[in-house]
Symmetry: C2
């Protein structure tokens, strides 16, 4: 592509921290690096940025290639740009984190690329600064999860309150009070209770929930409090 600029150019990569959730455990998709340097070592899933795409498109392309999934949730984490970070030369890397539903992805693609899902609390050593990227991504995930109820992109389409809570406990490494967690989550009015019970995880059986679609949100939820609010002068 043409460019009128005459300054130095740089290799740019995207690296994806791909979170998944299965069997009450937070997971991460890692791959063995297929070229030198550090060939064969465990690495985040990444790829090179091409001429005519945004970094988001590059990350989505990499995700598609490794999981067969489109329209995956992606969010920029940070740019890592230490000139020495990649032993093979100066490479900027833009880290993204993604959330995918493990039950939906293409396992054969994962195998084909020599990738593997790892339990989040047993991650092997990673190349370069990938551990640092992972940590930043985890922080960002926690921030997001503290602002809004996540799970729609990690859990199966229906799930019990226990499964949702275990997801949060895995993300925050913290035990939440079951009753309080339930009340808080339900107060957000983003879930709907299904008339189906899961009986595999408890004797009594627990109702399944799913995330409401946009069209299912009632229009009449309270918009403003009924008393005065200080407004800007």
């Amino acid at each position: 592509m043409k460019s009128g600029y005459k300054y130095s150019k740089h290799h740019v990569a995207v690296d994806c921290i791909i979170f998944g959730y299965e069997k009450n455990a937070l997971k991460l998709l890692l791959t063995r690096r297929v070229f030198e340097p550090e060939k064969g070592k465990w690495s985040l899933v990444g790829g090179w940025l091409r001429e005519n795409e945004t970094v988001e498109e590059a990350a989505a392309r990499v995700l598609l290639q490794f999981t067969g999934l489109k329209d995956i949730y992606l969010d920029q984490v940070h740019v890592f740009s230490d000139p020495e970070r990649d032993f093979g030369g100066r490479v900027l890397s833009i880290a993204f984190y993604a959330m995918i539903r493990i039950d939906q992805h293409d396992k054969k693609l994962v195998e084909k690329h020599g990738a593997k899902w790892w339990n989040y609390n047993r991650i092997p050593d990673l190349i370069f600064d990938h551990s640092e990227m992972l940590e930043s991504a985890h922080e960002k995930l926690k921030l997001k999860a503290s602002y809004e109820l996540i799970g729609e992109r990690l859990l199966p389409s229906r799930f019990t309150m226990l499964q949702l809570r275990k997801l949060y406990e895995a993300i925050f490494q913290y035990s939440f009070d079951p009753g309080n967690f339930r009340k808080k989550v339900l107060s957000l009015r983003v879930l709907k209770k299904l008339n189906i019970k899961n009986t595999t995880e408890s004797k009594r059986g627990a109702y399944y929930f799913s995330f409401k679609k946009k069209s299912e949100f009632p229009l009449s939820d309270r918009i403003v409090k009924l008393h005065n609010k200080t407004s800007h002068s």
Copy 2:
């Protein structure tokens, strides 16, 4: 610099959203673009990434060049990478926001570069996607200011509670209750009251405050609550 990689390379720029604060108003440093395309139009302060520096170093270099200041607070905002975003060719831009004390910077440098401080609510049209960058930076600034007391890097070394509150009101575009704001801020225990009064902004006079240095934080502040806390199993 040597590189073993054989993939396409990209122009990479940094653009800085430089916040300042003066006369009870939030300000932004903008410059006139000095080369084509869009020469002469208002733009964020930016520069090209060089071979042997991080993007943070590039941003700091640009800041030094425009303000004469070192050790400025800088934080990554977002990467903007639409192939069409820069009319002159494919350029990735990494946006940073910075906070500087207007009273400390070198005004001659600003003039020399044809830059100018703008009142935040009267920003002119900006080139490319710079308005979008600005908006993202503002969001990020608000997030930071909601988590911790900022002002140390924007206000003079001593300031009144009124000045601090006006800063927050400028950032959030919202009027805060003076009494409640004061109590909240003081409860954070990060400010110290000086024995000097400012009498220019009120008849009665208001004590100056300054941010505590690290060494001034008491070691004996309560660390944990004295009752049990649910811990992770």
